[in-house]
Amino acid sequence: MKLIKDTAVKLAIPLIAIFFGFFAGAIIMLASGNNPIAGYAALIDGVIGDAYVFGETLRMMTPLIFSGIAVAFAFRTGLLNIGVEGQLIVGWLASVVVGIVFDLPMVIHLPLAILAGAIAGGIWGFLPGILKARFQVHEVIVTIMLNYVALHVSNHVIRNYMLASGQRTDFISPTASLTSDFLAGLTDFSRMHWGFFLAIAACVIMWFILWKTTKGYELRAAGFNPNASSYAGMNVKTNIVLSMVISGAFAGIGGAMEGLGTYGFIQILSSFTNLGFDGIAVALLGGSTSIGIFLAAFLFGGLKIGAANMQAGANVAPELVEIVIALIIFFVASSYLIRLILNRLQSKKEGK
């Protein structure tokens, strides 16, 4: 019975948070002289109204799923990877470089380009991992700083070695591209690409690694209790590094999705893409589970795509969508707090 209650609570928290987020958004719309019903109708219309926006939503989801998985994977093993943004940027760059430089048949070229993204992201995760394992440097600080390093290194490389026209690189060769005429045709020429299916596969892979493999068991054990894990003979330090590498690799592939799928190039970034940072919200809202991440990515991806229609259809500022997203995250975070307090109370009672 307790198990059912737990599951119900787990599901209820994000749903309540989403509801509150939209509710607060409605109040803001009212206060700013807009009709919230019209606003949200336009939003929904902008997400699933036609094949094009739906395709764009799925396209937008793709990197968010990867960054969400990256955050969740690290989190499940007791690490806070705030560096998904940077790992995603270097992954994007690396995949584009491989996509441009090499001339190979597609069966080799495309996987190689994706792999390059994974490796670059993995290296960007390895650094904070090894620093934490070896010198107990907290991963949050290192990963945050590495975001800036990634951003500026990537811009430097593009500006000095790869600039083609304006602010961007050349297009990648078609043999490294994830774009699909089939999917584009299906969705009224949206930019939806094969990466969406890779993202679904990534959800399955994350679940498999954590819950079906021996390593996953070790990683989860170390996440919950590193002391008991080392008493049981596990090598906690190696596991920290491995977990950061896997997390970074997921993020790097997320970047490759943008480079090989959505855009086909990388441009000089004037600021962060926010895809990585949004991954934190996706993982949080999704409760760090594969299915949860998929659904949360759909919500955030949809909000971002639908925001455009809110302005066009109901004259609501797209910034409002950002506010709604922020409020949802706020309510998810605070309901975790509420849950924490509930748990505390309960365990206190049980303890006495």
């Binding site: 919950f224 209790n225 008991a228 006495k352």
Partner: protein, 509 residues
């Protein structure tokens, strides 16, 4: 009757459980009243009701015959009720006096009048024979002395009724005796004491009355003079308990664990284990007696591979395991019941089954080519849960949800089932109730009889004396004596643990 405290028919519910069900506790003026019960029986809840931390659903509290509502701890303080906590609430860097007056500082012209405070503290200390130096810093004084500071704290605030929460858990035998003397003195000066404990010996030694609670229900109050250990235990647990650990004479064979000239430095770079030599043979239980902090932790951790030793040699069955990784040591034939089961023994957010396989998950048939077969794991876990009588709703229940005794049984199942030649049990019964203790002691003896070497580390002298075949006394990182439990008294052991010499045991101190 002149009861100083009356708690009549107290009922305290929490959603889903009744922590206190119709419990009555009546304490007379000037007596030491024991509150006896297993862990989780509801002792703390009852005392928290008395101290104003919880409000009861039913029942009444009378202090000195007058009905009172104790809505918060301040009210309890005003009524003269003081609590001596099990975990001291002292600031290390402050002096005794500063700690005592904290939150209740006497002032003179807006400044703390430390001189007056010191005088007051010295006076109270004198009056009850506490022998505390008001100016000593907490970090410089012994644990026993720190506890006396806690007592002083309640007295300084005018407590007439003192609640002692498991006060002897941290003390050496000598300190326990001193504490008992202090308690008697407090009674002579007109105070009343409630002693929360699950140690029967202490009750028999100092208490006048004893109220027993079991699973939230009041079982009854007995006059200590008219009862005995077995009766109290039966009341507490609800069945007969055997105290003497049943075992035959040990038949030790070849040495299993050999430690030669071991040196281990602790985190502060002090030699915590200093040139230690020890040998344990198959078929014997060797108990290590010592006051906490004399190198026990470092000794265990260096054997199991969690701490590097600086020099010396450790072998299991002749195989050199010095500074090997924990996994390699385990595979060389070591089972280890760690001292802190929540921190080191279990992953509390894993299921019981996952915990039971924590040492063997990577082996066939559970793991093949990197894939873990959970059904196989749970099958094995189910078997062991049955065999070791781990009471859990299912093998998939989180370890967190189990009682301490059942958590410990799960650990024992895991460690013993691998049939290690050397079994290290560090404080295996700490915080457990008599029923679980009985089970664990039985298991240790069983393992010994199967021809395994058992290393027992405990701060409970009774446990060491009852279970061990030989006792090694550790002091400042060295084994200072190896004695036979049959012809060594608790007093002698206590002296050795405090650094006294064996042959002069009678004269020193």
């Amino acid at each position: 009757m002149d009861y100083v405290i009356e708690m009549n028919n107290i009922r305290k519910e929490f959603p889903g459980i009744v922590a206190n069900d119709n419990i009555t506790l009546q304490v007379k003026q000037g007596e030491i009243h024991a509150l006896l019960g297993e862990n989780g029986a509801g002792k703390s809840t009852l005392m928290n009701v008395l101290f104003g931390l919880y409000q009861p659903e039913k029942g009444e509290i009378k202090v000195r015959g007058e009905k009172v509502e104790i809505t918060d701890p301040n009210v309890a303080n005003d009524l003269g009720i003081g609590m001596v906590h099990q975990h001291f609430m002292l600031i290390d860097k402050f002096t005794v006096t500063e700690n005592i007056i904290l939150g209740n500082e006497p002032t003179k012209f807006g400044n703390i009048d430390l001189r007056k405070a010191e005088k007051d503290v010295a006076e109270i200390s004198e009056m009850y024979g506490l022998q505390v130096d008001p100016r000593a810093k907490i970090e410089d004084i012994s644990v026993g002395m720190q506890q006396r500071v806690e007592i002083l704290k309640t007295l300084y605030r005018g407590a007439e009724i003192l609640i002692f929460d498991e006060p002897t858990a941290v003390l050496t035998p000598q300190e326990i005796n001193e504490l008992m003397e202090i308690m008697k003195k407090l009674i002579n000066e007109g105070k009343s004491i409630i002693l929360i404990t699950h140690k029967l010996k202490e009750i028999l030694a100092v208490c006048d009355q004893c109220t027993v609670i079991r699973r939230g229900k009041g079982i009854g109050t007995v006059n200590v003079k008219e009862t005995n250990q077995n009766e109290l235990a039966a009341m507490m647990v609800g069945r007969e308990i055997s105290f003497a650990v049943e075992k035959t004479v040990a038949k030790p064979k070849d040495p299993v664990l050999k430690i030669e000239n071991l040196v281990v430095r602790d985190a502060r770079d002090v030699k915590a284990v200093n040139d230690l030599n020890l040998e344990i043979r198959a078929g014997e239980i060797l108990g290590i007696a010592g006051v906490d902090g004399n190198g026990q932790t470092e000794l265990i951790e260096s054997i199991v591979g969690l701490q590097k030793s600086e020099s010396g040699k450790i072998t299991i069955d002749g195989k050199d395991i010095t500074n090997l990784s924990p996994r390699k040591v385990t595979e060389s034939g070591l089972g280890h019941i760690p001292q802190d089961r929540h921190k080191h023994g279990l992953v509390l957010d894993f299921s019981v089954g996952e915990n039971i396989l924590l040492q063997t998950y990577y082996r066939q048939p559970y793991s093949k080519n990197g894939v873990l077969f959970y059904p196989k794991m749970y099958e094995k876990a189910k078997e062991l849960i049955e065999e070791y009588d781990v009471r859990t709703p299912s093998e998939r229940t989180l370890a967190r949800a189990l009682s301490g005794g059942n958590q410990q049984k799960a650990i024992i199942a895991r460690e013993v089932d691998r049939s290690p030649n050397l079994l290290i049990a560090a404080q295996p019964t700490r915080g457990l109730d008599v029923g679980a203790i009985e089970f664990i002691h039985k298991k240790l003896v069983e393992e010994r009889d199967k021809g395994r070497a058992v290393l027992l580390i405990s701060f409970e002298l009774d446990e060491i004396r009852n279970v061990s075949d030989r006792i090694a006394v550790i002091y400042e990182g060295k084994i200072v004596a190896i004695v036979d439990p049959k012809d060594t008294t608790e007093q002698e052991l206590g002296l050795l643990m405090a650094g006294g010499k064996q042959e002069k045991a009678g004269e020193s101190n």
